[in-house]
Subunit: 168 residues, 2 copies
């Protein structure tokens, strides 16, 4: 059981059982962060300027959706990714920017394991599919996402004896 | 026809005909950019450190997939988004990180219009679905993505007469 792990041990594939949930955030979104990200990656006026944001359908200085996605990644990192044997992700299955993320908003949410299965192409690694839901301080859903992460399995005693086994 | 527009006129919904393609990049990916993005949004070792990257299944200091996605957005901005009457995007329909993006790689590709249709909920705005393909300098596909963008329609002479029409 996960509760019996040594505190220093990282989470492995086996720890990500379907239904398990991890808290994300809180993350306060600062004006200068919105502008900095937009200047580098998405320099549209509504992401750079308060007045332009108010004049747009977003209704205020709004984070680029790609910035919201990157903030989601950071919240995942701080919640469980950095504490797990993660080997990266093959992509994003779903990313919905449901409402604008405005300067001064506070984001929080959770990642829930949808499914977990061993990878056929990479022995010793499993793939875990998550659903991520992020809300603002008014409990409005601002971002809904799903993606899959490759996570190493816990080493077993047999692994030491089978180290010469060819990989598939 | 698009070719008859005045040069100063921005692209509108009508200009994004299915099949039309826009060049993306080139974009040289620098070591310090990879580390800077990862430090803020995805501080996993393979995105922060050359040796850790080589030891990972990515094979070298590799950009976070979320960084690759953000670089795709910037290439879209420089290619056509900033030159069009864009009103933002509701999300990402597909994002596949097919191969690692390593320090020193040069990215380029194209966005192709898959479909374009008027939005029922927002008169005067259409939604354009793109497929984005990004390759490295070896012509390997590193990122395949699809997303939809809201783009304003070209104002018509009737708009001036119908400005009191209630919006649906």
């Amino acid at each position: 059981m996960a509760e019996e792990r040594m505190p220093a041990e990282k989470l492995s594939f086996e720890d990500f059982e379907p239904g398990r949930s991890f808290a994300l955030g809180p993350k306060l979104v600062l004006t200068e962060e919105i502008i900095e990200f937009a200047s580098e990656f998405d320099p549209q006026p509504m992401h750079l300027d308060e007045a332009a944001g108010r004049a747009s359908i977003l209704g205020g200085l709004a984070a680029s959706g790609w910035h919201t996605s990157a903030m989601l990644m950071r919240m995942m990192a701080d919640s469980y990714v950095l504490n797990a044997l993660c080997e990266g992700a093959p992509g994003i299955d779903l990313m919905e920017w449901r409402k604008p993320v405005l300067a001064g908003d506070t984001l929080q949410g959770h990642s829930t394991v949808l499914e977990a299965r061993p990878m056929r192409s990479r022995p010793g690694i499993g793939i875990v599919k998550f659903r991520h839901a992020v809300e603002n301080q008014r409990r409005e859903l601002v971002c809904l996402s799903e993606n899959s992460v490759m996570i190493r399995m816990r080493p077993t005693p047999e692994d030491a004896n089978m180290s010469s086994e060819p990989s598939a």
